[in-house]
Symmetry: C2
């Protein structure tokens, strides 16, 4: 099934906001209903594919069949941009100026190599496309040397290639969507344990290319922690890396491909560590008096253990609004949960391990001032964990603006980072006449720091994309000034590139440009994404 | 104090082999006493420094004082090559053809930058020098474009720059030797937990540059796991990386500098995670009927926990010879320990944590067929853990050849790798007329694989360096053919470069060459180490 072209997920799961919420948005944020709804798919005027005949023919030769080189309008619209709120606002307005010239579906590593060579020869940029869930402009190349680009959709590369039960490793193809990968592993008694909010639609290759981090990262690790080997197709040939879990044989080239966002090569296989399917899953709620007190508890668990499998903490506003339970927003019985800051702790594993960790974590959480509020908030979180993007669609439909952004820093920098980003979002949106609701949670913890994930809701403003741009700039500036990284798990894309270059500095940028020039001398791979065009 | 110029460590700690061992070496391996002892430091004819006056003056200008540009023979001899057995054999024979033209001691990051610029200008290669403990030819540049090279000794950069007790991070200068770094952290209640065999002499910068792994890696992680930030001086400027524990902002450039062995830049600061100084340390011995049974137990702990802080397993031969307890070799009361395969499990942490992990690990080890043999073997291992390099000196003095090599692979490849490397070492040395004793242990475990560390002892042969070369080649070939990485923690240097290039393939080599060309366009940084000169 294809994802909703103009929003998120399964169109059948879309639901309008309850009237109570619409009322709240109006009273609290000044949100007014839109005068007109989004464009219809049929109504969008898609320019004819600009592919020259010989280029089209060359691409067909690479993939063996013309059905794998799609130039129809609907397929191309479905491969236009990603799923950030500005992306959605633009596609809902029928803007297709970023539309690919064609969507090419290779069926093997060698076909990917062939397509890349053909693109280099024909002056065509190529955007690797997995689940299409980028929220940082990762599918929007700037193509100064290339008038056109193709989307290189990897969905046909969707096999579990190998499972080594002794080493607990699996080799997966990049086009596997996460639920299918998980199902293939579950059949054999294993799990990847990677459950980001994009889980239902995102792909294995995308997880690797964008350094995804899942909601159970405290227990299973980030996706980049899981990756043991990579096969990569580049315009200059194949890179195969990862002969051991860890090695002292030079720089870890896996870590150069992870996070490369399609700009250095196309990931064609990913060898990951897998774990036995957990027998037990328990999620529970804890309430803290303040975000500071809750963060101290999370830090204690991250530094001295035991670490739950899932560990997250909403700030006061997010707790109050109940965004941690998106399916309950506006519900009248949310009130008892709405005081203080809600944390969710989850335990997955054997019955013995989960019970042991839970008991020991309970002592730590109590000692840190936490109040146990039962399993119900945990179960509710688990039930609604993939729903927030649907809620965003409903908010956009109702005339509100809703977007998320995230960062990470060392623990000692976290309070300052939290204040700075909230302040930047609140003051710029308020000055622009659309005072926002800003919510935040900690969703990933490490011994030495944690992530902060912000959600912003406001009225849309006259020109919502242009209205948001200076706000996003202010937030990004605040993140860097307060010592955070420009992204903990969304990635760089084109949206964060300017701040990414500040973060790694001019020498760091030159390193990446040099690698790109070596692997992609014609500059066809996702040009302008991640790495500034030299 | 300086290390013994012709061998390992503190000259006062050198001890000759007991007569019983000399007898065993003679009877078992045909080792015969050497006709002459090693060269004396005074007796080595050191060529005068070839530095031109203007070059010398330029270097003095960079570091502010002529005492920091040393051209005397003794200092230069002490910076000639590293500490592999071929390195020792050559320096003991008075061979100084690899001697640096000068030893330069910068006192700050900016002085390192200045020295690199001066080297580029004056056509002089530069070899970053920390503890000088490389065993892979990492201090032996091939300088096709540069007739001469300097050793860039970082010992003056020896401060603890910052300790963040909240985030549990410390920023260290690269020239800090490990015991001093540990002492500075211990004073503040923290530990790095990094205890490789080279601990007493190696430096923080060297650990990072060579991806060191310590004997307590199961508990504290590898050194590259600990690194959160890096400051790097390159001929093209400064690279400062690491704003958060983990990030999705592009490739992890820290992982490109880690393992770069001085070929991409000079590491001038290292931010590491630190942990509270453990209150309790317990080491104990377990005996297994076979290496296979012991390895299965280690795998069980690595995959399902609990993980001890130290976990290692000697094979039958190493257990029998007692090399796991170097100070007991040849001792008559070693016999009761000598059957089967000895494992050491160590627990460091709070009293509660160590006791809990120990109890749970005990159940696993018993279930896997282990026999608990008390704390004495563990304590003996801990007491002698840094002694093996001293033993090697004594073996060389006695006319024997002794060397180590190591690799890692995924668990399912480990048995084949073990057999292949043993076979390669045994057959080539036997064919060469010097049948060896080959011992092995697993010293680092991961969920998905482990390391293998081999020790070889044989007679020296007529020309010991030339005698060893084809044996080492055969072992390296066997490692790659059996699916291992060419190094788990020693690094690449010049000795492993040929196999490293096979391991990462031609595209991988081009990536590293492109990065080097960008950061070091004149090719002055450790030329030929790690990265083949393009």
């Amino acid at each position: 099934m294809d994802m909703l072209w103009s929003g998120w997920g399964d169109p059948a799961k879309a639901a309008p906001l309850p009237d109570t919420v619409i009322g709240l948005l109006r009273d609290l944020l000044g949100v007014t209903p839109l005068e007109s709804g989004p464009a219809s798919l049929d109504g969008i005027a898609v320019p004819e594919s600009p592919l020259a005949d010989d280029t089209w023919k060359a691409l067909v030769d690479c993939v063996g069949d013309r059905v794998h080189v799609r130039i129809d309008g609907e397929t191309r619209i479905r491969h236009t941009r990603g799923k950030s709120t500005p992306d959605l606002l633009r596609i809902r307005a029928g803007e297709v100026d970023d539309i690919p010239a064609a969507v090419v579906l290779p069926g093997s590593h060698d076909e990917v190599l062939a397509v890349l060579r053909a693109c280099a020869e024909h002056g065509l940029a190529a955007v690797p496309f997995g689940g299409g869930t980028s929220v940082v402009g990762g599918l929007t190349p700037e193509a100064p040397r290339h008038g056109h680009f193709i989307a290189l959709d990897l969905r046909r590369l969707d096999a579990l290639i190998a499972l080594d039960e002794v080493s607990r490793t699996a080799t997966l193809q990049p086009g596997l969507r996460a639920p299918r990968a998980e199902a293939l592993l579950n059949e054999r008694g294993f799990t990847l344990g990677h459950f980001p909010q994009s889980y239902e639609w995102a792909s294995i290759g995308g997880f690797a290319a964008a350094r995804s981090s899942g909601q159970a990262s405290a227990g299973y690790g980030r996706f980049d922690d899981m990756v043991l080997g990579l096969g990569v197709a580049t315009p200059e040939g194949t890179l195969e890396i990862g002969r051991a879990p860890r090695s002292a044989a030079g720089p870890d080239l896996r870590q150069l491909i992870l996070g490369s966002e399609g700009a250095l090569g196309v990931i064609t296989s990913v060898t990951v560590r897998v774990r036995p399917l957990p027998k037990t899953r328990i999620y529970e709620g804890w309430r803290f008096a303040s975000f500071e007190a809750g963060a101290a508890a999370l830090r204690k668990l991250a530094q001295d253990g035991p670490l739950p499998t899932v560990l997250r903490l909403s700030d006061e506003t997010e707790t109050f609004i109940g965004l941690a339970q998106p399916d309950r927003i506006g519900s009248t019985d949310a009130a008892p949960q709405a005081a203080g800051c809600m944390a969710i702790a989850g335990y997955e594993g054997t019955a013995e391990d989960t019970s042991d960790r839970r008991a020991r974590a309970r002592e730590v959480l109590l000692a840190c001032g936490g109040e146990f509020v039962g399993e119900e908030p945990g179960e509710r979180w688990a039930h609604g964990r993939y729903n927030a993007p649907y809620l965003r669609d409903a908010l956009l439909d109702a005339g509100a603006f809703a977007e998320t952004l995230e960062t990470a820093a060392f623990w000692s920098a976290l309070p300052g980072l939290y204040d700075a980003v909230r302040q930047a979002l609140t003051s710029t949106l308020t000055e622009a006449g659309t005072p926002p609701l800003v919510m935040c949670h900690i969703s990933h913890v490490y011994e030495n720091g944690a992530s902060l994930y912000f959600t912003v809701v406001s009225a849309q403003g006259e020109e919502p994309v242009a209205h948001w741009a200076p706000v996003k700039r202010a937030a990004n500036d605040a993140i860097l000034a307060a010592g955070g990284t420009i992204s903990h798990h969304h990635g760089v894309g084109t949206d964060h590139r300017e701040w990414f270059t500040q973060e790694i500095g001019p020498v760091g940028v030159r390193v990446l440009q040099a690698v790109k020039a070596e692997l992609d001398p014609a500059g066809i791979l996702n040009p302008g994404v991640l790495i500034p065009v030299r």
